[in-house]
């Protein structure tokens, strides 16, 4: 069969496949007959066959290219994967996320240690030597933190209007989720980036806490941070753990090639990052609308905070255990 005969014989099939693909791409109008999946699949398989033939027979470039293009387009449409939907989200919350966290338990513990040890160390150091705070931040910032948690009208816990709450909500989302994404992504550099972000954030937080406690502002400060901390501190530790997993895959790929190990590590640890984003959304909402509300009695705040901590840790520890 010559190329011209080949082209003449199958031209109509190619045109039909092409028009089906175009209709799928621009969307089917109601007046048209719906695109038949069966017809599309069979045309696709025939085009694959013809492409193989055309290649084996070294037919001219324009025929091979046309078939190449057709099969590539149809391939994209036919193998499109749909991973969205409510069912998928539910499974992510109920099983996949807590399961992924437990599967990375070693990284989570390491990450927690790298976060908590500098936090406690700096907290104690600054509490007993308050002037150390000045080697962490400049005096103006220290004074600003003190003012934020003090009892005067500029304090963070003042009665704000709803608009300000929303502004803070937006700020917390942008700032905190961005930081934790960075903490994860920088794990790509052999885990060093994640370790740095964890230790730095831990030390900073510890230093501020130690300083404010020493200044006698502990009731304002702790009642502010303790509730959303259940979500936010957990999220930072988890995103660090996901970053460490990636870094570890690069340092010690085991029996895989480094690249393959990285791909597997990214695929498994990205599930944790989904959950982290969810936790941080909750944290931002709590921080903006609940933590800052000063009219709520302290005992209620501590009670809710304790419930939140138990809920989050219990969720990560037990949820979805029997499902997988």
């Amino acid at each position: 069969m010559t190329p011209l005969q080949f082209e003449a014989q199958y031209q109509s099939e190619w045109d039909e496949l092409q028009s089906l693909l175009t209709r799928l791409r621009v969307g089917v109008r109601k007046s048209d007959t719906p695109v038949s999946g069966e017809r599309l699949a069979s045309l696709y398989r025939r085009a694959c066959e013809q492409l193989a033939l055309a290649r084996a027979r070294s037919y001219p470039a324009h025929i091979v290219e046309r078939l190449n293009q057709l099969t590539a387009d149809a391939h994209q449409v036919i193998y499109q994967r749909q991973e969205f939907g409510f069912g998928r989200l539910k499974k992510m919350v109920a099983v996949d996320f807590p399961h992924a966290v437990r599967a990375h338990a070693a990284y989570v513990w390491l990450s927690a240690a790298v976060f908590l040890v500098p936090m406690i160390a700096l907290g104690l150091l600054v509490y007993f030597n308050p002037e150390l705070i000045l080697s962490m931040v400049d005096p103006a910032t220290a004074a600003q933190f003190e003012r934020m948690y003090s009892d005067d009208t500029e304090a963070i816990g003042r009665l704000r209007d709803a608009g300000s709450d929303w502004a803070m909500f937006g700020f917390y989302i942008q700032h905190n989720i961005g930081i934790s994404f960075q903490c994860f992504a920088s794990g790509l550099f052999a885990g060093i980036g994640s370790l740095f972000f964890l230790a730095f954030n831990g030390a900073f937080l510890g230093g501020i806490a130690g300083y404010l406690t020493e200044r006698g502002l502990s009731s304002t400060f702790y009642s502010f941070v303790v509730t959303h901390g259940a979500f936010e501190l957990t999220a930072i530790v988890l995103s660090g753990a996901a970053g460490l997993r990636i870094g570890h895959a690069l340092i010690s790929p085991g029996r895989r090639s480094r690249r393959e190990a990285l791909v597997v590590a990214a695929r498994e640890s990205i599930v944790i990052v989904y959950g982290v984003a969810g936790l941080l959304l909750i944290a931002a909402a709590v921080e903006a609308f609940w933590s800052s509300a000063r009219w709520i009695p302290l005992s209620l705040k501590y009670g809710v905070a304790a419930a939140c901590w138990i809920m989050v840790l219990g969720y990560l520890w037990r949820q979805g255990r029997h499902a997988s």
Binding site: T2, P3, L4, Q5, F6, R25, Y44, R45, C48, L51, A52, A56, R57, S58, P60, A61, H62, E65, R66, N68, Q69, T71, A72, H75, Q76, Y79, R81, E83, F84, D161, A162, G163, S164, D165, W166, A167, M168, F169, G170, F171, I173, Q174, I177, G178, F181, Q182, F184, A185, S186, G187, L188, F189, G193, I246, L262, V263, A265, A266, R267, I270
Partner: protein, 233 residues
Amino acid sequence: MNKDVLDTVVSAETPEGIGIELRPAGLSSRCFAYLLDLLIRLGVVYAVAMVVAIMGRFGLGLLMILAFALEWFYPVAFELSRWGATPGKRALGIKVVMDNGLPITPAASITRNLLRAADFLPAFYAFGVASMLVRGDFKRLGDVAANTLVVYQPAPAPKVNIDDLEPLAPIRPLQPQDQAAVVALAARAPRLTRERLDELAALAAWVSGDMGRSGPDVTRRVLAVAQWLLGKR
């Protein structure tokens, strides 16, 4: 494909046993696509800022949420659309696919876009650029981890258009790759200068029995062989 040929093409195989050729997009087109997307994002933020300015602090909150969503999820949303590309990429004729030529999965899209933060370090996407320049398939770090590839949307090859020539049989049966080369020359003929066409045709002159000679007549005879190979008799 011969490994020694200097080419960036990546071959992927479908379940139907067909190899699909993917042409990875290089640094410059991806750079322009990024800049276009950046302009679009800034434009959207600016436009929304104009509108929400009247809403005060509440509007500020909305604006920050929008800026956050655009920064991290603008590419994800567009890559998962039916085009597989952000508007900037679409303007440059490139799109994101999986390594194996399949459409990008949501997990891969989120992975590659979150890891953009690593590509950005230490400043202005230095690591991402370095990775793209070092690798033959121009992947940035996020692409490596997510198993994705940014490829050109191929333009269809020009149709061979030499209807006015009388077909001429080659002096002996040709190997498939020789046939392909002669026909490809015919396909390129309209886009070449006459001198360059003569030069190239001289390389293939043996198919019409004109080995060692060159000139417009030889060229015409080589193209006539191409006509014969296409099936004209």
